[in-house]
């Protein structure tokens, strides 16, 4: 059943302080095994002292509209759920790692149970009307989640009013995680 939604997330790099609350909340919510993470912080400093700039990003699976991971999956374990959310069905996954190799964002890992694992946009929360755990916890409200097909959603408004970028646009993956400048 399709709801006609296109879920997306915006990451406000001006608000984010890189505290990792999102990373730990995800680990707790999703019982992410020790040694792995589904989201992570990238902190970049550019320039030479004292003329410096900084960008901090909370990153995760981009839930691409053109997901190479789904394209290459030989078993159909990687699939696109309603709302454009890219998921992995652990029962169908053989742990072949084709998707891992195809992902430009290094968003996937092999769970110790043998299947590939990654961010689900906390679809189990979203489908009952909650935000993903990372969005809920974020003390800086840097993360916003919503439906891009709804012009009144917060993510739609943010993308209309703010400058933004996606990571590795040249990969042609059409990510649905946007970084607000």
């Amino acid at each position: 059943m399709s709801t006609g939604k296109r879920y997306a997330m915006t990451v406000d790099t001006r608000r984010c302080v890189g505290c990792s609350a999102c990373v730990l909340a995800c680990m707790a919510e999703n019982d992410v095994p020790e040694g792995y993470c589904r989201d992570w912080i990238v902190s970049e400093i550019h320039g030479e002292f004292p003329n410096l700039t900084q960008e901090i990003r909370s990153e995760r699976c981009m839930h691409c509209s053109n997901p190479p991971c789904v394209e290459v999956c030989p078993t159909g374990a990687s699939f696109v759920h309603d709302g454009g959310v890219v998921l992995v069905d652990p029962h169908k996954c053989t742990g072949c790692k084709a998707c891992i190799a195809s992902c430009p964002y290094d968003a996937r890992y092999v769970h110790p149970d043998g299947h590939v694992d990654k961010c689900t946009f906390c679809i189990h929360r979203v489908e009952r009307g909650d935000n993903p755990a990372c969005v809920s916890v974020c003390p800086t409200k840097a993360l916003t989640f919503g439906d891009l097909n709804d012009p009144t959603s917060e993510v739609s408004k943010l993308l209309r009013t703010r400058e933004y970028k996606v990571l590795q646009p040249e990969a042609g993956t059409e990510p649905n995680v946007f970084f607000l400048k």
Binding site: R14, A21, F49, P50, L52, P67, F79, K92, P139
Partner: protein
């Protein structure tokens, strides 16, 4: 078979990588799959309480399933968390289920410092403590017992020690942390900034951080407001020798020469006074001593300050105008841990005075005038009537004119044989503070510990201090116990409850129970609260609520009250003049500079860097570095070294070094972070790592313990605090044996 599969994978991976660009939707994208993940971490029960992974006390909701806490999230009803948490708040389960937790009471079997203990029953441990404390009191008086504490749960033990007859209750969180700031604001405004600080960051237009790395210093509500302010277009001025997270968001980053903040603050005031940019009406109405201030800053020119601070005079002028341009919604953050160079109260006074010129105290976007939920105390059946002896926390030949809370390092020094004090300290009760890391000059702490008649440690983890105790009592964590109600001064009054989410694990006990049981053995129960639930219920009945209600709701809000001058509230100042004291007669009368004086910092010895330390958002000092869950996002500290200096010295990011100070004290090995984001004359590390206690299996030997390098301090002549930024270090390449060890 396995080989075939691997080959297949490689081919698929390579072809996908080559063809991913521009590939349209394959048929598989449309294939139906009904699978929806459900990690199943939602609790069957959700229990509100408040956090103790740091000292901020955010309201949380603990999810409990099959008797285990699965996750901890923010309580939307709580004014400090507003439903959101810092990384540490989520990490409470890492403490609760830490396999290294203290599990049973312990009595020492060998010399102090060696962790050789015997597990004993609570009765045996408590009987032993009571007998020893009586022995110490018989010989030296009850005042010879000192309590060192950190954390909200300490209130029960404080009551016990005071009932016993000692007012020697010290916390490193005062003299080693926010004490100089509090004293500076008390001298200027008649009240401290408090905790949580009374800052209206969300409405500020210009936030100046000088000595605050907010964002790395993860005070949840303040960071939330910082982001909200940025979102609303506020600008930051950040003064920091290091390119902090906040500096990366700032309109102006001033990488100041360490130790010269007062020069910059005076020069800013010079510009603001000279150009008449200050709030004249506000100063005329609320402040005294402006003429003296004007004279004092007349020669503190940007050119003068530039030589000291390394900041161009034009930039000093520009930032002064920028800061003043947003007044009164221009907030110069008072910082928190602010004991650095010994002139820290004067530095705090400079910040306080600058805020007065901006008219930010009591104004929106500045300092709010807090309100609180008045929840009366329920007294014990008898009131303490004995007269306390003054704490011997300052040497007789070096009295401290403006004492506040007892000085923790002073109580320690009074425990060292031969101390020049009114009377010696002979026994310690140490609650929740790892004095080996929390106090500077650790060699003095060891000297005291070796000489004491008796030492008790009450803690959750086997931190270094427990290895020095004669008796170790395992306390239940904040998730397993009640504590007193929390109703702090804030923007809106509230009262919050801490309650057990799960019963105490192992053989740990809540502090309230420990205090009561010791009280029984010392004949002090008349002065103490008995059953904690009855006590909390009695308190809550006084405001028309009940323990049952609070247990269900977690927090009650008071009626909204005005907290700003703009809302018609008139500020009052509990100073001798009843006004904001720009010029401090109190300081003058004590023979101290009535207006802040700048003292140039001592230069570094050749080949040395000034050692600076700070915080990371995912840890609270050394208290959390053994938390394996928080360790997933920060396992060890690194030493920040200017990239150019690193090249000159032949160091690269990731190199293992030992940090050696001017007195030969060592810490590490620790990895180098070569970065453009720090001045060439200092190095920086996050405090709380490099644990020496082998019982802390996760934290043991990870990174470096900066406390080991603080062998010198500069004592604040106003309030007696210990400035620690007076130590200099060099980096030595670590030997292979050190790294593997």
């Amino acid at each position: 078979m396995a080989i075939g599969r691997r080959t297949f994978i490689k081919i698929v991976g390579a072809s996908a990588g080559a063809t991913a660009v521009g590939v349209g939707l394959g048929s598989r994208l449309l294939a139906s799959n009904d699978y929806v993940p459900d990690p199943g971490t939602d609790g069957d029960e959700v229990i509100p309480t408040f956090c103790e992974i740091c000292f901020w006390k955010c309201g949380v909701l603990a999810h409990k399933k099959d008797g285990r806490i699965t996750k901890i999230v923010g309580n939307p009803a709580h004014p400090l968390s507003r439903g959101r948490l810092c990384p540490r708040g989520t990490g409470g389960t890492g403490l609760l289920y830490d396999p290294d937790r203290l599990k049973r009471p312990l009595i020492r079997k060998e010399a102090r410092g060696k962790q050789v203990f015997e597990e004993v029953s609570w009765d045996e441990a408590l009987d032993h403590i009571a007998a020893k404390l009586k022995e110490v009191a018989a010989k030296h008086g009850p005042e010879s017992v000192a309590l060192f504490n950190h954390g909200y749960g300490a209130s029960w033990i404080k009551a016990l020690v005071q009932a016993y007859g000692s007012d020697n209750v010290g916390a490193p969180s005062y003299a080693q942390c926010r004490g100089s700031r509090e004293k500076a604001f008390e001298l200027t405004y008649g009240s401290a900034v408090g905790s949580p600080e009374v800052l209206d960051i969300e409405n500020t237009r210009v936030l100046t951080l000088i000595g605050s790395h907010l964002g790395e210093n993860m005070h949840n509500t303040q960071v939330q407001e910082l982001a909200d302010a940025i979102g609303a277009g506020a600008e930051l001025v950040v003064v920091d020798p290091r390119f902090s997270t906040a500096a990366g968001k700032a309109r102006y980053w001033l990488p100041i020469r360490p130790g010269t903040d007062i020069a910059l603050l005076l020069a800013w005031m010079h510009v603001i006074v000279k150009e008449r940019l200050y709030d004249r009406d506000y100063v005329a109405k609320y402040a005294v001593g402006f003429e003296e201030l004007e004279k004092h800053v007349a020669d503190k020119t940007p050119e003068w300050a530039s030589v000291e601070t390394g900041i161009a005079p034009e930039l000093i002028v520009e930032t002064a105008r920028f800061i003043a341009g947003a007044r009164p919604a221009s907030l110069v953050h008072p910082g928190r841990r602010s004991n650095w160079y010994g002139d820290d109260t004067q530095r705090g006074r400079s910040v306080a005075i600058l805020n007065a010129l901006l008219g930010s105290w009591g104004r929106k976007g500045g300092f709010f005038l807090p309100t609180s939920y008045a929840v009366p105390k329920v007294p014990a059946s008898k009131k303490i009537e004995h007269h306390f002896k003054e704490p011997p926390d300052a040497p007789l030949d070096r009295p401290v004119p403006f004492l506040g809370e007892a000085l923790a390092h002073g109580l320690r020094d009074a425990s060292i044989p031969g101390a020049n004090v009114a009377y010696p300290i002979k026994a310690w009760i140490v609650y929740g503070t790892n004095l080996l890391q929390a106090l500077p000059e650790p060699e003095k702490t060891v000297k005291a510990l070796e000489a004491l008649d008796f030492v008790v440690a009450i803690d959750v983890l086997p931190a270094e201090i427990t290895g020095w105790a004669d008796v170790v009592l395992p306390e239940a964590t904040y998730l397993e116990r009640f504590d007193d109600l929390h109703a702090p001064p804030w923007k809106r009054g509230y009262v919050a409850i801490r309650q057990p989410v799960v019963p105490p694990l192992h053989d740990s006990k809540p502090g309230s129970w420990i205090a009561w049981e010791l009280g029984k053995r010392l004949g002090l129960t008349d002065y103490l609260q008995g059953d904690v639930e009855s006590y909390l219920d009695a308190r809550l009945k006084k405001i028309g609520s009940s323990l049952t209600e609070l247990k269900a709701r977690g927090v009650l809000l008071a009626k909204r009250e005005p907290t700003f001058i703009e809302e018609g509230l008139e500020p009052t100042f509990a100073t001798p003049s009843g006004k904001i004291e720009l010029f401090s007669k109190q300081l003058e009368d004590a023979g101290l500079p009535p207006l802040p004086q700048y003292t140039p910092p001592a230069p570094a010895p050749a080949g040395h860097f000034r050692l600076l330390v700070g915080r990371a958002p995912m840890h609270t000092f050394g208290r959390t570095t053994n938390n394996p869950f928080l360790g997933r996002v920060m396992r060890e500290n690194v030493v920040w070294l200017n990239a150019k200096r690193a090249r000159e010295l032949g160091f690269e990011t990731g190199d293992d070094v030992v940090v050696v100070n001017q007195d030969g004290a060592k810490a590490g090995p620790i990895k180098v972070r070569a970065t453009e984001g720090i001045r060439p004359d200092c190095v920086y590390m996050v405090h709380g790592f490099g644990h020496a206690s082998k019982e802390l299996h996760f934290a043991f030997s990870r990174g470096a313990d900066d406390s080991q390098l603080v062998t010198r301090v500069a004592i604040d002549p106003v309030m007696g605090g210990t400035g620690i930024n007076v130590n200099f270090v060099r980096l030595e390449r670590a030997a292979a044996s050190e790294v593997s060890a």
